[in-house]
Symmetry: C2
Subunit: 219 residues, 2 copies
Amino acid sequence: MDKKISKSVLKRLPSYLSYLKSLQETDSPYISATALANALGMGEVQVRKDLAMVSDGGRPKIGYLRESLIDDIEQFLGYDNTTDAVLIGAGKLGQALLGYRGFDDYGLNILAAFDAKPSREKTEDGKPIYPMDKLEPFCRANKVLMGIITVPGEYAQQVCDKLIGCGIKAIWNFAPVHLEVPPHILVQYENMATSLAVLSMHLQAQIKDNKENKSGRID
Amino acid sequence: MDKKISKSVLKRLPSYLSYLKSLQETDSPYISATALANALGMGEVQVRKDLAMVSDGGRPKIGYLRESLIDDIEQFLGYDNTTDAVLIGAGKLGQALLGYRGFDDYGLNILAAFDAKPSREKTEDGKPIYPMDKLEPFCRANKVLMGIITVPGEYAQQVCDKLIGCGIKAIWNFAPVHLEVPPHILVQYENMATSLAVLSMHLQAQIKDNKENKSGRID
């Protein structure tokens, strides 16, 4: 963790991990940077550099022991020490995230959800949904450092402020707004509405182009 | 749609929409750019410009009729003409997205999922899960233009190529890899594994700093 890591390296590591984990028992226990680069259609030099940054297990001409490399990448990404989190906003998106079992693989454990007006006491998977006044005592008691925001945009800033007041240091924000935070707090944005708008605009433009081309042919 | 729209405008529009929809029947039917800017803690000039880009319903001193402004933003974002999509990879993430009812609000309709080895024929919500050989006839028959990729990283490129072969023009990629596509295809990336890695790294660094500070005090 002493080396400064660029976000582009962080983006590539999960794909190495995903590929390494997909290999079968019957495959060789060793894998080289070259083999990995070829399999993923990436530059060999880049893969070699990335791997050297997260693991010192590479041996000339042999490569890395696959299992060790998986461990090294997971440790590097923090997947091995589970991060506990709270989620604020048990609406449609909040409930979908609460029910998503894949977060375990990334070391994320959502302990509980909080909502201004909880519509039920537990999710289908049995995760508790508490009213907002339980947030601070819960975060303090469980030493929670990560908060996930899935409330509508106009409530996101006040929820963010509340989370910081509860000792939260890292925020995963699914609300479609920018959040103001002190410098020691990290906000990671996940804006699915924007992604969909970008895709939808592209499709509208394509459909329009098609129509114009077709009418051009007829005229 | 004739004006060129920056991605930063697209990012702000969903938050205007979310706020406008949160207002009550009892609130005034009109809203000004100033009121909207104040409510969301944003710059008035920026909000004014953004709104002027999507709607010509603004009147001096009165502002916009709220319902019309909602319609204009939704139309601009393409939420009103529903986009049909197929989803490839009915694993944990794929099933979470299939079950997420909030996409309706954004005009996205996932018609069906496809999987190399479907573990079941339908999701809990009754959406069909088909084997991959049904993908092309399904996309052609339903004129589907959007594909959502939720397969593991190492299969994403081949799935992407297959989607393009089926007439797909816009791809929403949740796999943690970069995709090579022809220029007329748009790929929008949604990398939750990277987001989590970034947050997790931040927390690890914070915990480390805290420990060092504390041991510093004892020495």
